[in-house]
Point group: C2
Amino acid sequence: MKNRTIENAWRGAERCKNCAIRHLVLFADLTHDDFDRIHHPIDDIEFKPGSRIYLQGDQMPFVYTVRSGLIKLVQHLPNGDRRIVRILSQGDLAGLENLDGQPASHEAVTMDHVRVCRIPRSIIESLKRDTPRLHDALLQRWQKALSGAENWITRLSTGNAKSRVARLLLLLDENSEDDSFFLPTREDMGAMLGITTESASKMTAEFRRNGLLRPLENHRAWIDVRELRNQFD
Amino acid sequence: MKNRTIENAWRGAERCKNCAIRHLVLFADLTHDDFDRIHHPIDDIEFKPGSRIYLQGDQMPFVYTVRSGLIKLVQHLPNGDRRIVRILSQGDLAGLENLDGQPASHEAVTMDHVRVCRIPRSIIESLKRDTPRLHDALLQRWQKALSGAENWITRLSTGNAKSRVARLLLLLDENSEDDSFFLPTREDMGAMLGITTESASKMTAEFRRNGLLRPLENHRAWIDVRELRNQFD
DNA sequence: ACACCGCATTGAAAATATTCAATAGTGGTT
DNA sequence: AACCACTATTGAATATTTTCAATGCGGTGT
């Protein structure tokens, strides 16, 4: 049990009602009655950086709401190449694609310290039957996932290495609530952008030398948003 | 009216019940009662190659079920670059993303001769309220769209130009019912793969010289699936 | 048949990205 | 503080891709 820890597990949905980020999560619009229909436990789980939440091919009995941290979705090609196809952050749902019992088409790995709520699929199933409010919340998640994936294609997989890195930094910055953001390893940046680790490193280093990127403590960083947008939108 | 023709419009949902490809479309599982709830007209429309069905930024009052042909979804970057983010074929739904009234995040353009059924959004809205069967059909469409987009990233935007072209040809071939398939212009291939028109052309020409690709009449082509898969999965 | 237009192909030079290998940081551990 | 493991950076040689320009090819309309 090297990577994964359950630090703070608790039972039932009682605390969902008072969840600090409830306005952001799947259950945002549920009523008190809806919550009372939840009989299976929802666990609050923490993962260390680099933990695998689920694997490509897994049958998933759970979905996960991201409370904090970043999760990368990694798809493996038969030839061994890997590509990060999307990043999940606060309020996103991991495992959405597998709600209908399909095996996962990618694996989910934490990039930094991550807290999630683990929701049994059966809860979603039964709520889906009874509450249209959940339907809309799920549809919104699908919508966001799809437009995220399309953005990934146009913004992060198009143009030369420098623009790609620039657009990735801008995306990471937008997704952060803070005015700093988590800066992935160069290897992960490469896998997100479809370029090599070294190329990601060269571009990142160049931005740093130009003062457009400032690394901070703890794998976090700051960027000159205005200037980066100016040069690369 | 250069690009768009309505050759064969008809009213109401009567003919949906007997549609030849109904098993493939959104309305596959509707009952007779469900159909009787449809009061707005569903039109059968044909488009010439290169017709714009909707534009990036449009508010869409319709969704479109593809009956035959291929539709490209094109996203424009602020800097003028464009990228094709997905292709729709028989049974797919164009405009899914915009069911909730959001402006379209990409434009939809026909690649060859295309027949669609144009469904007013209001029909979907009202059916959604009453029939859970439609819900599942919609969810399946979302699922397919998302996994399509992720595949696009890993298979078509990763690796060198030659593998990308090979994987695109394989994808086009799989999506075709025929044993031949529609071969896009080199420009479109480039926009799908994030490479230049010339690179797409060079790779395509090389495959032709190697006998792995045989162009046929009418922009269609045949590939040596086994050999291409062997070399590029 | 002819000219014409748009798309495809090709080649050579220039730009960009990858590879491989060495060096430098960085954080964590003893 | 010294050490270790891991990641980042950098440089030089190589490979790939883009760019730009020329040429070929196929169908359309006259």
